[in-house]
Amino acid sequence: MTEAGYRTGLVDLAKGQISREIFVNDEIYVQEQERLFARAWLFVGHESQIPNPGDFFVSCMGEEGVILCRDRAGQIHVFLNSCRHRGMKVCRYDEGNTPVFTCPYHGWSYSTDGKLVGVPYFREAYHGALDRSQWGLVEVVQLCNYKGALWATWDPTAPSFHEYLGDFARYLDLSLDSWDGGDGGIEVLGGIQKWIIPCNWKFPAENFSGDSYHNISHRSVDLVGIGPSGSGRRDTRERELARRLQVSFYERGHQTGVYVLPSGQPIPLAYAHSPVVSEYFAHCEEQRRRRQGEWGRVIGSPGEVFPNIALHPRQPRTIAVWHPRGAHKTECWRWYFVDKAAPQQVKDFLRDYYIRYSGPAGLTEQDDMENWNYAHAASRGVIARRYPYSYEQGQGYERDNYEFDGLRLPGTVMDITEAKSSEHNLRNLYRRWAEFMEAESWDELATWRRGDQNHGIVRAAE
């Protein structure tokens, strides 16, 4: 492996080929921790998980364990879950409520605003001389509450979260707004599902970036009919009426799929297994169209906020984070969301459907995990590593300023309605990955500030 040359060697966008090394090489994995996870904005949780002062939820940012908590004054913080004295975890619960985080090793204790408030033998052993104000919990340098979703970064030079998102915010909103497009908000449903799989974190990240080519893997689930109307794994009627698009943000590394209905086309009824749920969503869709106008024609599909946050805005509505645990292991965390104001019957119905679909016991996610795990295992050998993966689908057919029936979509768009599939979004993930791996600073990474247009794209002849 060479130290440099991610874009010119390991991630060859001109050829549409990516080396297996970036998935299985331990040195590259180590570099990712510094280059990606210490610099990017990462999802740590949702405000509905910590509604009251003293509430906390233990989360992760890359390999780092962190505590998301609300202090006594109601302010939200994210702290490194590590005592400043000898590094022991100061919180070993998954979630709860507490007035202090006390290290069980030597007893240093921190208030929920991170201040060091308890030092055993402070007068006797330290002679009162330890400057406690300098030894509080390490706090993230930037934290953003975006529509209830909490994001953080360790990098003081990183752009604000809003700048990090850019116009991708409109697509992220499809996951975070209440379904009627109003400000009623969403909340986390139940607990967070957590499980470990034997593959590199980029396998699931790529999958959720927009790999619709693997639909064949889910054919058995579709045959079983786990969907909320009794056939397939989701309701798909609106998809048959819509343009099917993949949208990439080259300068930021975010990407998603969307469906766009023709102007004036109402969204067909869904959730036929429950008249109450069906009616609830029909009402919400009507409200959403009224509030959002033409944008209400856009229906969300899986996407990814760079680097490791997967969006699944609808059926089921979840966010997943792929926590790196070594080159060959990933810890998956999945949050499930419902409208805060939805009737209990709707929440109960969705819970059952979500569990059926996603997570370690979900039939669809089981298919995915099997693919990722075996693909990783089969790519580790010295012979296997010599052969790159192919990412050539649709190369050169992406379009800026895409418009359908009077609605212009932000981002660079690949229309796959007729093509059926593309690896446009997947290339975008690795394009940005390579930029992060090579760039020395955010001055280099914030390419949009310089108005750079060339991101190594090879366009097909117009």
Binding site: T98, P99, V100, T102, P104, G107, S109, V117, G118, P120, Y121
Partner: protein, 68 residues
């Protein structure tokens, strides 16, 4: 039988005797088994702390003083 005080069982209002002879009243308990917050009622070593609230380390607690 151990005389060790289980700090998790100390409720607000309980009077505790510290190893330096001070007496303090428990104000709150984070239930972490390590600390309690208490107000000094007396201190033979440092009378200036009387009336102050401080976090008291479990290993500095010698015992519980019976009420009255």
């Amino acid at each position: 039988m151990s005389d060790l005080v289980n700090t998790r069982e100390l409720t607000p209002g309980t009077h505790i005797v510290l190893v330096d002879g001070a007496v303090a009243e428990v104000v709150s308990n984070p239930l972490d088994g390590v600390w309690v917050v208490a107000r000094y009622l007396s201190s033979p070593v440092d009378p200036s702390v009387v009336g102050q609230e401080e976090m008291i380390f479990a290993q500095d607690i010698a015992g519980v003083r019976a009420p009255g």
